[in-house]
Symmetry: D3
Subunit: 124 residues, 6 copies
Amino acid sequence: MYFVKIRESMMIAHSLKSPFFGPAQNVHGATFVVDVTFKTTNLDEHNVVIDIGLAHKIVKDILAKLDYQNLDDLDVFKGKLTTTEFIARYIYDEISLMMKNDFKGKINVSIKENPNAWAGFEED
Amino acid sequence: MYFVKIRESMMIAHSLKSPFFGPAQNVHGATFVVDVTFKTTNLDEHNVVIDIGLAHKIVKDILAKLDYQNLDDLDVFKGKLTTTEFIARYIYDEISLMMKNDFKGKINVSIKENPNAWAGFEED
Amino acid sequence: MYFVKIRESMMIAHSLKSPFFGPAQNVHGATFVVDVTFKTTNLDEHNVVIDIGLAHKIVKDILAKLDYQNLDDLDVFKGKLTTTEFIARYIYDEISLMMKNDFKGKINVSIKENPNAWAGFEED
Amino acid sequence: MYFVKIRESMMIAHSLKSPFFGPAQNVHGATFVVDVTFKTTNLDEHNVVIDIGLAHKIVKDILAKLDYQNLDDLDVFKGKLTTTEFIARYIYDEISLMMKNDFKGKINVSIKENPNAWAGFEED
Amino acid sequence: MYFVKIRESMMIAHSLKSPFFGPAQNVHGATFVVDVTFKTTNLDEHNVVIDIGLAHKIVKDILAKLDYQNLDDLDVFKGKLTTTEFIARYIYDEISLMMKNDFKGKINVSIKENPNAWAGFEED
Amino acid sequence: MYFVKIRESMMIAHSLKSPFFGPAQNVHGATFVVDVTFKTTNLDEHNVVIDIGLAHKIVKDILAKLDYQNLDDLDVFKGKLTTTEFIARYIYDEISLMMKNDFKGKINVSIKENPNAWAGFEED
């Protein structure tokens, strides 16, 4: 299995509206460092997993809709608990949708939210 | 010159209310990775620059007042442009105040706000 | 598959009493940076893999029994070769025991022992 | 599943001779930070996955043939598109060949080529 | 003294044509991770050291002329030993020239060339 | 001012025999990641601050005397509190002695002892 991993980041605010989250119920924020991994069984005719320029562009475009935003204000997340796990899955779904014609392998998304915590969604 | 550097972090939201800041005028957020450096000419009788446990405690206590907060809502920052440079200076001032009896050397504060940007205040 | 990864660290001494280990037969030490990953198929009702505060607390409590210790002096490791692989498995077993009622997914433990070496145990 | 991961690096030049690669058709270069992971189901009698000293030596020896080279000039890569994915597989094949008598587990190779991009080959 | 530091990177090839450099006399390459620091005594009316967007743009523009190039082929470096120190100074000179009207403070350039080596030029 | 920085590491045990150090009075250990910076006003005829190969060799040789050791057992540290600050100064003194004929600039030593703590000695 070959893989390519790319890194982009975004700076968002949000709040997690359940007593379960303690102080994270407040509007606070995070720098999300987003690693997206593309996996395939074989390389293509250019000896690559994916056009890495295209991959960077698609991930940047998806993150641009969230970057410098308060996620609480976005329609797509209304009434949702926007945990890091949830955001990782959202990014995974967006990438999968955008690339369904260009990439047939597996996609994973990992988000570092602070020096001691990560969350993500891995396609099985 | 000897030094000790410690690292703590916090997750804040804020907005920068001037057209100068473009998209950062929105409420957004950041993980601020805060490095505080203490410098002295000589070591004390325990061969240290400072009691590192005390230093961690003081920095944690100062950051705890900002962590998981929207800086726009805090009285101390009302009407201020809470840039990373400004926050670094604020943390420097708070540490200096708390430690004025315990530490006679110089203090620097550096904040990493994303994988490609830092700001800080260095005591000359 | 969703995951959450948390990072804690500890500073231990030990010796590896077999000629196989060359200079590591001496009492020496390491900063072990310990990454623990929790994986589940689905998120719970709070959109999380696990209560990350609880996870940090349990990992910290387990590491606290080893931190600032010479592993050679601890009864639990008497007569054992406390390689990084072995310690990773020990931590995995302790976490599994502590969380058997609270977490039904898979747990992995990875330890960075220096800038060029890691070891770990991954639940299959 | 236990694992050990080691890190070595090399500094190479190359060019990717296809219009697909845009500016990377030029002779340019990269610092390749190479992580090699060895995985086994059980530890051996020394509680290790592999003799880490031997592993470092073999990986260093393999990288030494590429380090400070222009890959375009090496016979082994004549007419090949030496993408990072391809180089990862080449290193994997070389390690597998060198270790076939000493290691029966699985081997993965991951290469970081810049702060925002990685590629690799993982044995399934 | 306040500072802002930004990070960009480039992937270059070159050779160092003197026996002093041993294997680095060959055409080889490097990922240069370039950190540029801007320092001023006071913040401006926006509470910043510099317009960080402008700083990123200028540094990117300067690096773009070197990125994906063999430095041996560029007129500006003909007959020069393009060590990392020398390149850091070149980048410093270019930034200073581009910003002489917009920035009156001090500028430092630091380049990471591999996980164990950096070089740079610091304005005194 | 030009600089070159190199990184090496070592794995040591020690104890700090004063109640001031709390749990660090126990024999424990650390991976010390040692960064040594060499600074000069001008580059030499090879456009370098220092022969980086020589610098790596000297630093490695000095660390080799401490690596895989319990510092409590070494004559040179008998009766000393081997804090990270103290060890940084010791390494600085050793390097200065070894290089007094080969290097006329300034030397700094910084040691990372865990993900959240550093200490060092900087020549003024």
